[in-house]
Symmetry: C4
């Protein structure tokens, strides 16, 4: 037991840039949920995607192995459906074990890339 983490997280900002500039995959515009599973057991994670004008989609189910980090690009979520580009969304990330979640976006639409990051919002559990 690593002694750090929460089971419920949320990211209110979401927006995947619609184009990129520079060599892929490193410079491909993307949004990522960086997940740390410090536990000695697999974490089963469910992501829900919320939109402005239609019902939420999900859960997208991912597994993070014990004592591993997974930097999950939102661009790569496919099942039940991909997230459309250039569209506002938000997400919740719920896990059966305590994890840590950080949000990052690389926007390479212009010749110089722009990066943002923030810890996700942690629920009380």
């Amino acid at each position: 037991m690593a002694g750090i983490g929460r089971k419920k997280w949320a990211i209110a900002e979401g927006w995947i840039p619609s184009w990129s500039h520079g060599p892929e995959p490193e410079m491909l515009s993307h949004e990522t949920a960086c997940i740390l599973n410090p536990n000695d057991a697999e974490a089963h994670v469910e992501i829900m995607i919320y939109y402005t004008d239609r019902d939420p989609v999900g859960p997208y189910k991912i597994t993070v192995p014990p004592r591993r980090t997974l930097h999950q690009r939102f661009n790569d979520l496919k099942d039940p459906e991909p997230i459309p580009k250039a569209t506002n969304y938000a997400s919740t990330i719920f896990s059966d074990l305590p994890i840590v979640v950080q949000h990052t976006r690389l926007d390479s639409r212009q010749s110089e890339n722009a990066l943002i990051t923030t810890m996700a919002f942690a629920g009380s559990e």
Copy 2:
């Protein structure tokens, strides 16, 4: 009940750039409060804007539908009055239901845009 969120939030930084560079609306300089309402009911949200040298203005009232996200640009707040550009401000965002709030700014005054984001500060409720 989605089980995540708080009713009181604050953003201490606020400043809308006074000009832009690039195609609108995507590249228009703006500040945004990204709000997630994970509940099964409407969230009624009141934004107060605090200034350096005059009384606060508001509340600006917005409604976020159930299980939706609203990326509210501060630029678009009009009633009771628009927020002046190139002016320091801060904000509180209070809701009758638990929500999640994230702050973002796109500054496109220069040829390459600059992006910042952070979770807003969550009150104890």
Copy 3:
């Protein structure tokens, strides 16, 4: 009583760029503690600056009027002494009333400015 804020805050990162590029004061490289005082009374704030290899300096005393925001540039702190440029530091911001503190840096050393922001770390009180 505005019902949001804490009395103790900390920012572990601090570094004022040593030069700037572009029109002042808007494009002057700077670090800022954005402070929101949502209370109906003055907040008396004390900032301590911590360094890598010498004793902390302070307190720098500032007052934030009731229901106002103050975007305090670290560059402008003078008493008891200015903060040297291009030097690592950290800070604590303690107040007699609950406030909200957010950290911002504009780095305009290069032709395109870089912006960062994060909520400061809130103590338990």
Copy 4:
């Protein structure tokens, strides 16, 4: 006793850019854990590095003197082994005394640098 800080911190995002652009060391691409020790005694800090596809490495042991800040570049961690560049990782930062931890990355791969920062996630202790 400074009255602020926690003993357990985590950063879910980690990625050291593989090249740089501009004068070193200021413009060298790097990731940093900015640590503030506001206590009157030494803080003994242990950093664990988590990877995507192999066991965690560490602890990397560092000491932060009383009432000092240490801006520890992940690039400079050597013992038990350096962190590979252009590789996803995450970290936990545990201390015997309450500290404050903030995460920063400078990415200078392109002609204009990109900066990101966020407070690390604080455990409940």
